[in-house]
Point group: C2
Chain length 525, copies 2
């Protein structure tokens, strides 16, 4: 199809009236047509109005109808074909093969949520049957289920133009929960966004869902996003991006007459702890895996390993040397946007210029205008502990190795870490006791702990946690990847002594949908 450069408001395609957005091919610096005139506050109003109107109908759809809707979105995205991955590659500088993988993940995610919707665990059904004879007071009949919060604002992320964007995890989990979604598309990939948005529009029509269940807005600057989060009809926000962007949305959401939850996934440096036995036994192999993870997507992953901690000595020296060689051999990769490239350069310069940081190696210089030239640096634990700035995220392929004098210093670093999405342990059997001693501290600082793997590559499943304490996210109680993400858009309601005819179907005695329930606190499948 020919891209139209429009907003998608319900089933309509609407040409914006505000400042134009153009995608830029970061590999060449060239501007990609069409132009995307930004939306106005009136467009935000209209999208929210439609979302609210759709909510009462959408939340009452059967689990089966809602699951089929999610599957239809996946089908429609696949039906776009190579146009999607080609446009995505042009807008992001990412290889087309990576976008093919990401499309698979995105569609798999939608289908996972379809299965989650059908299984109904997320309804958290609880029944406390009446006890009319109880002394000193009879007990009423009490039944609980989860209901959706209402329309959700979703912000597309720059670094995953499919999996964390228009039909990404936030959209999938909100739709699964029964919430209409208004997406603010990321300005760096409007064409990719439009293609996916139109796929969702088609799924809405095919499944005869109320049109307001999905809208897609564009807008340069923060105006549209702030207007969206301020709109009284919006009841929750999903965001993946920078710390400053997330903090701004949190402040807006908190200042509303009715504050609402913001699920912002912001910054993480994903520390990697190198334990002595592992380092001794397979330092070179670890260095190889580390640099491969560091370079993935030009380091533009939320889970990029930006910090490595080890005991100073010959084994760590050997690791640093091997990692440095691998970094030097790293090809330059195009970064997502000119702005991200600029911030990366400035982060790298700050490390290079830091009096207590030593540059180990840089990767190959690129010929394109927005190349990432991987950086590896080293500092002492003492200097790291003395300077909070060294915990700042450099978004892109950059990592800092910290040399510790002893295990006490390692422990102190663990204690001083900010909240993280992930923490990685490289360990062998002989490191077990050291890892055991450190684990309780690490666990309190991350959403995911992994051993002998690399943090990049976030599995979409039931047990995944892509979250963690602030500032990794704004709300550590949830995950933005995996089936548990559905809980972010739900709240419990209790029904007391309601006549059967008034009770939600799932809560009736005969359990018509055969969903697992807690009866007097005991699990009945």
């Amino acid at each position: 199809m020919t891209l139209q450069g429009t907003l998608l408001i319900g089933q309509q395609a609407v040409t914006g009236s505000q400042a134009d957005i153009y995608a830029v091919n970061p590999a060449t610096g060239e501007t990609l047509p069409p132009r995307y005139p930004g939306g106005s506050r009136a467009d935000v109003e209209k999208a929210c109005q439609l979302a609210e109107a759709a909510f009462s109908q959408y939340r009452e759809t059967t689990l089966e109808a809602r699951a089929q809707f999610l599957e239809t979105i996946a089908d429609e995205i696949e039906a776009i074909g190579t146009e999607l991955t080609q446009r995505g590659a042009a807008e992001t500088g990412l290889p087309e093969a990576r976008l093919e993988g990401e499309r698979g993940r995105t569609c798999g995610q939608l289908r996972l949520f379809a299965s989650v919707v059908r299984a109904g665990e997320w309804l958290d059904l609880r029944l406390d049957p009446a006890q009319p004879e109880r002394q000193p007071m009879p007990r009423a009949d009490l039944r609980q289920r989860h209901i959706p919060l209402g329309p959700v604002a979703v912000f597309g992320a720059s670094n995953f133009p499919l999996a964390f964007s228009v039909a990404g995890g936030d959209t999938a989990s909100a739709l699964a929960a029964g919430c209409p979604v208004v997406v603010k598309g990321h300005s760096a990939h409007p064409g990719t966004s439009e293609l996916v948005g139109r796929a969702i529009q088609r799924a809405v029509a095919k499944c005869e869902m109320p049109e307001g269940v999905f809208s897609l807005l564009f807008g340069s600057g923060r105006d549209i996003g702030q207007a969206l989060v301020s709109d009284p009809r919006i009841k929750a926000v999903g965001f993946t991006g920078s710390r400053s962007g997330g903090m701004a949305l949190m402040a807006t959401a908190q200042a509303r007459p009715e504050p609402i939850p913001v699920y912002a996934e912001m910054s993480s440096i994903n520390p990697v702890f190198l334990f002595p036995e592992a380092l001794k036994a397979r330092g070179n192999k670890i260095a190889e895996g580390f640099v491969a993870s560091l370079n993935m997507g030009a380091g533009q992953f939320c889970t990029n390993p930006g910090l490595v901690i080890g005991l100073k000595g010959a084994d760590l020296d050997a690791f640093i040397s091997a990692a440095g060689e691998a970094v030097k051999a790293s090809n330059a990769q195009t970064m997502l946007t000119p702005g991200i490239h600029e911030a990366y350069q400035s982060g790298i310069s700050a490390l290079s210029d830091h009096s207590n940081v030593k540059e180990i190696a840089r990767g190959q210089a690129g010929s394109g205008p927005h190349s990432c030239q991987t950086g590896l640096f080293v500092a002492s634990a003492q200097d790291f502990l003395a300077d909070d700035a060294l915990q700042g995220e450099v978004f892109g392929a950059s990592s800092l190795v910290i040399e510790c004098q002893d295990s006490d210093e390692i422990q102190r670093i663990a204690e001083q870490l900010e909240g993280q999405l992930t923490i990685t342990l490289q360990m062998d059997d002989g490191d077990l006791n050291a890892a055991k001693a450190l684990l309780p501290t690490l666990e309190q600082r991350a959403g995911r702990i992994l051993a002998n793997g690399w943090p990049t590559g976030v599995e979409v499943g039931h047990a995944m946690v892509h979250g963690g304490p602030y500032p990794a996210t704004s709300d550590s109680r949830t995950t933005s990847v995996g089936s548990a993400a559905i809980y972010r858009f739900l709240r419990p309601v209790c029904y007391q002594d309601l006549p059967t005819d008034l009770l939600p179907e799932v809560l009736r005695d005969d359990n018509p949908l055969n969903v697992s329930r807690l009866v007097d606190g005991k699990r009945e499948s």
Copy 2:
């Protein structure tokens, strides 16, 4: 025992150094000894330091040990005997029988959470086993559990000196989750608080828990509370009280370098919808039940029915007349504190003086200094819809009846309601369709919907929701009563490819504690 007038910091009794607090018997206006010198910021520091130190040990206690600790607290509270209910009555003006009931509820709540801890549902265990052969990429072994957030600040409420105070629901659910608790006792009942606090201290010692798992602070004004919520070691806040108090804590929590969740239960007017058939068939009986609920605890319940909505006409007239008679016959009751009494008087005066509100009846005037003289008022739906101030909570026995011209006006009122803890339907079989039409709107505005009962009296069970959209609470995704309250103090962590020896026991293959788990999204009991 003789009350000491001290703070309780860990296992120590510490005499405060700041402005004195005295309990006042609201029935007589007399000051009750001893004096309670307020805590300083250094005392807050000390309590938080101990709480943090206790956390690493307390969170690793076995489920059985933690359950026994909760049960021991209940035993120790019961062992105080009548001193507790006598002192409670003197400090609050509540009848001793009511405090006996409340003690039963408080201890029952602790024991419920003991059973919840043992059952382990709250761990939300999820296993996605490794798939080494999966194409195109193998799947790692992923396991998820919930872990506690860290030390929790709990604010005692004025209106339930046992069940929502030092060892109330917030404390019970936080301790159950594995979080140490620092309580800011309510200044209106320091003696009751000290008695309960010492019972918890004894339970800590008997169960050999780390001393910092519990501390109790006092302080006049908001200084101590704000210092507590600002302390970086505190990771969540539980509060029941006024809207302004809750909002102040939310602002403080949000302004911290690391923002934390605040669970504030604030204000609710608990609308009651009178449907026509029910009103016609049993208007007098409904009026009787309504006024009994209205007068419960001098109306000082969060779930007090402060708003009644019905169709204008002879049946509603008869209801108003019967309710008015019952109100006139209502005995005066002593209110909790001089401050609450003053706010009540001012709320009642605002209604009496309101040009669009008619006073129906007042209860018996009291002879004591802080008497609640029940008030019943009426206004038209049109006037109610035009004036948001009429949705304000008058804390105490006061209710406003709204006369509607037709069902459209009832629907508009439902749509304009702020978030509520409860909404009550008085309905008969013939009202089913009308109730069905209204329910989706009501459900979006309340945490609990009940039919043909009264909102006062909140059952402590598994299916209860004592919560609701803002401003009923600061966070509609949770409940402050019932077993699901434990989730407020937990967050998920995922373990990827961890060696068995490093895995938390509950996540090991053999499920040693036999806790229900989701394996690849399917429930295994």
